[in-house]
């Protein structure tokens, strides 16, 4: 027995973000059937739609199924009432980033365009402060050498520290999320430990096989794989760069294998992001509503990649504004990796946690 006390504000927020007329759902269940992932028992998204309609925030935030959805949009395509469950799910995820955000204000400023200047100001101020402390807060003379501007030790240590900090904060949020997942499934007992369950979903993470079940959006899996592996490759290259900076000569030459790898990764990201952006811009019918949160993540990723390539060129060509670009690039890096738990990039964390939890209670997708 659940006590009903509709959270009207939550419902309005959901409608606002998703642009879905979710009230008009008549509970026919078409969405659950056409969904290529929904499990046989308690399938989604039909049940979530009535919870949304009834403003049952508690049942939706910290709900496993919200994160098992891959946003393919089949449900929205076939919904006889045109209420777009896929967009509602997306909106719930977006609200989740804010809900589990530690500190809360970061969740808020990263999911609302009116706080964008603040979101930008934070890295500007902090990076400037670090540069000030390092004593390099000026444009260096001579050939472009970024370490003159931001000494490697300062850069690597500060960014690593900040990254660990927000990841730590993210983990606090994820712990709360994990507890909510358990709370939502009082009848299921988790089996196995986190690592074992994580291993059990590794195949899905590596292969993205659930993406291919999506019939409405064929290009999505391809684009996501490109971005996913492109980014991992970049992380790998970056890690090597940090290592290189510590142990031997840095920067690397243009033909250095790692530099080549980095550029391949950039191409992968460009192609992947290009498809994603084009789809969101030109195929709204299948891809649904795109929110600020979607765009912020996509655009920062795009800027990150672009600025990365451009500063590389700037270094070789000794462009005069190379350091400005470098500064901009650092802000992009910040938006992607420091802000990770608060932006859409957080899905990588929430989704993996939800997948692991689902594996632990043996909730299998179709």
């Amino acid at each position: 027995m659940i006590k009903v006390n509709p959270d009207i504000e939550f419902k309005k927020q959901l409608k606002d973000i998703s642009k879905s007329s979710l009230n008009e759902c008549m509970q026919c269940g078409t969405c659950s059937v056409v969904c290529s992932l929904a499990p046989e028992e308690r399938p989604f998204p039909r049940k979530e739609m009535i919870w949304a309609g009834w403003g049952m925030k508690d049942k939706l935030i910290g709900n496993t199924d919200i994160w098992l959805c891959h946003q393919c949009g089949d449900c929205s395509t076939y919904c006889p009432r045109g209420v777009k469950p896929a967009d509602v799910f997306s909106a719930i995820r977006e609200i989740s980033y804010q809900h589990y955000a530690k500190p809360k204000f970061l969740g808020k400023i990263l999911n609302n365009p009116k706080w964008l200047p603040i979101a930008i100001l934070i890295p500007v101020v902090i990076i400037s402060a670090i540069l000030f402390m390092a004593g390099t807060l000026q444009i260096p003379e001579g050939p472009v050498n970024y370490s003159k501007f931001f000494p490697h030790a300062w850069l690597n240590s500060s960014f690593t520290f900040l990254w660990f900090l927000t990841i730590g904060l993210g983990i606090v949020g994820l712990r709360n999320f994990w507890n909510d997942l358990k709370l939502q499934n009082p009848d299921s007992t988790s089996t196995g430990n986190f690592i074992k369950n994580l291993l059990s979903v590794r195949k899905e993470i590596i292969l993205h096989s659930n993406f291919s079940k999506c019939s409405a959006q064929k290009t999505r899996k391809f684009a996501h794989l490109l971005v996913f592996y492109g980014f991992i490759l970049l992380l790998f290259v970056t890690a090597f760069a940090i290592y290189a900076a510590v142990v031997h000569k840095y920067p690397l030459g243009l033909m250095h294998p790692f530099k080549v790898l980095g550029n391949i990764a950039a191409v992968m990201l460009f192609v992947g992001l290009g498809i994603m952006i084009a789809n969101r811009l030109f195929n709204k019918k299948d891809f649904g509503n795109s929110t600020y949160t979607d765009w912020l993540f996509l655009i920062s990723m795009f800027f990150l990649t672009t600025s990365g390539v451009v500063i590389e060129a700037a270094r070789f060509l000794n462009w005069s504004f190379a350091y400005h670009l470098y500064f901009f690039h650092l802000i992009c890096v910040w938006f992607i990796i420091i802000y990770i738990p608060y932006t859409k990039f957080g899905h990588i964390l929430f989704r993996i946690v939800a997948m692991v939890y689902a594996a632990s209670i043996n909730r299998k997708l179709k």
Partner: protein, 408 residues
């Protein structure tokens, strides 16, 4: 003063009713129908809900009322193409298809015997063929043969002309345009069923064993495809597991945003009809809301009490075909929250009501139904103005009759 007749457009159950009711008051009526026979959609039905009685029973009485009433004139194979004028004095232009077989046809059937050409039988939704010279159906009114000029080779063949002992065939007949003056116009143009092939996820176009509710009427009717037997098209076997898919197109923004009002009761009727013929057959009806209003609730209870009929709350989202031409219907059983895959041997789509096309200007609503906002003297009735069942249509047609006789 010379009072002009009332025009009734559409000779289905509603139009026929309006016409006889007006004529029996003592007024003149002209009834026109685009098909070569009166009776519209219902004449193709096997039975009516909730009594499971044959539509031809009531039509027989109504046709008798037309036959013995000199105040009714009717024109079949005729459509209105233009309406001008005002209430009390409308001028109506109508087009009559070529009448290759004249009214002195005795329905002896000689023409069909010798006719070498075949045509898909519209009366059975094209599932069977007739000769190009054909009697539309055994209860056809007017009771005479027709020639389908799409398939007839006309004078090049001429076999029917030679066979006809009554000189009733004129293959050179031409389309005729005529004009009449009437005092008021009842629009009883009725409905057609929604094109099920547009509902892609239900796979209608790709499986012979998925049929629509109106087609089912012909499948099971005593004068239908198999004379009171239900046979699958794929292998001519009698299906023992049959599923009904409610709201196939209706209540769907991608298709018909409104409820078609009759399909729930119609499927209950079909389920009971199947049970009468095959008491062992298993029937499942997938629905969103069971919409049987008023006293028809009894009919629903009767179905609920039948242990071989199961009502499942949940819309079918997908139908796929197996190798042996069975059908897998997928739905979420909303009340238990489980996904169901039901293997049926036949699936019947409860397709909805779409207003018939009309070739002259009228005010229509967002769903193409004719609104009440018409010129004075133009009276929309029954399914031309909203989806409704037969009994309500007849009621509406009688109501329209009183509006018509007020104008003279």
């Amino acid at each position: 003063m010379n009072i002009k007749p009332v025009l009734v457009i559409g000779g289905g159950i509603s139009g026929v009713t309006s016409a006889v009711e007006i004529a029996e008051v003592g007024k003149e009526v002209i009834l026109i129908e685009k098909n070569p026979y009166l009776g519209g959609n219902v004449v193709k039905f096997n039975n009516y809900f909730p009594k499971l009685c044959p539509p031809t029973c009531g039509l027989e009485i109504n046709f008798r009322r037309i036959k013995q009433n000199p105040r009714i004139k009717y024109f079949t194979s005729t459509e209105v193409i233009e309406v001008t004028g005002e209430k009390g004095d409308f001028k109506v232009k109508m087009k009559t298809k070529p009448q290759y077989i004249k009214n002195n046809c005795t329905a002896c059937g000689k023409c069909a015997e010798v006719c070498p050409e075949e045509r898909p039988n519209e009366f059975n939704y094209g599932f069977t063929n007739t000769k190009a010279a054909y009697l539309p159906h055994e209860m056809a009114f007017p009771y005479k043969f027709q020639i389908d000029d799409e398939f007839c080779k006309k004078e090049a063949c001429n076999k029917c002309v030679e066979a006809c002992e009554y000189n009733a065939i004129d293959l050179s007949a031409k389309e005729e345009i005529s004009e009449i003056e009437v005092s008021s116009i009842i629009i009883a143009t009725g409905w057609k069923n929604y094109d099920a092939s547009k509902i892609e996820n239900l796979n209608y176009s790709n499986s012979q064993n998925i049929i629509t509710n109106v087609e089912f009427e012909r499948f099971i009717a005593s004068n239908g495809l198999n004379e009171n037997k239900l046979l699958r098209l794929s292998d001519n076997t009698e299906p023992k597991k049959i599923a009904f898919v409610q709201c196939a197109g209706s209540r769907d923004e991608n298709h018909l945003p409104y409820c078609s009002a009759v399909c729930c009761s119609a499927s209950l009727k079909h389920a009971l009809t199947i049970q009468e013929l095959y008491p062992e057959a298993e029937v499942k009806i997938f629905y969103i809301d069971m919409r049987v209003a008023g006293r028809n609730e009894d009919f629903l209870v009767k179905v609920q009490e039948n242990k071989n009929i199961e009502l499942v709350k949940g819309k079918v989202g997908k139908i796929s075909e197996t190798e042996n031409n069975n059908l897998i219907l997928e739905a979420e059983d909303i009340l238990s929250g489980k996904k169901i895959k039901y293997e049926a041997e036949m699936a019947i789509l409860a397709t909805g009501i779409v207003p018939s096309d009309i070739k002259f200007d009228l005010n229509k609503d967002q769903n193409q139904f004719i609104t009440d906002l018409q010129k004075d003297g133009i009276i929309p009735v029954a399914c031309s103005r909203k989806p409704m069942d037969v009994s309500s249509s007849v009621k509406d047609a009688t109501a329209a009759a009183v509006k018509a006789i007020q104008i003279s």
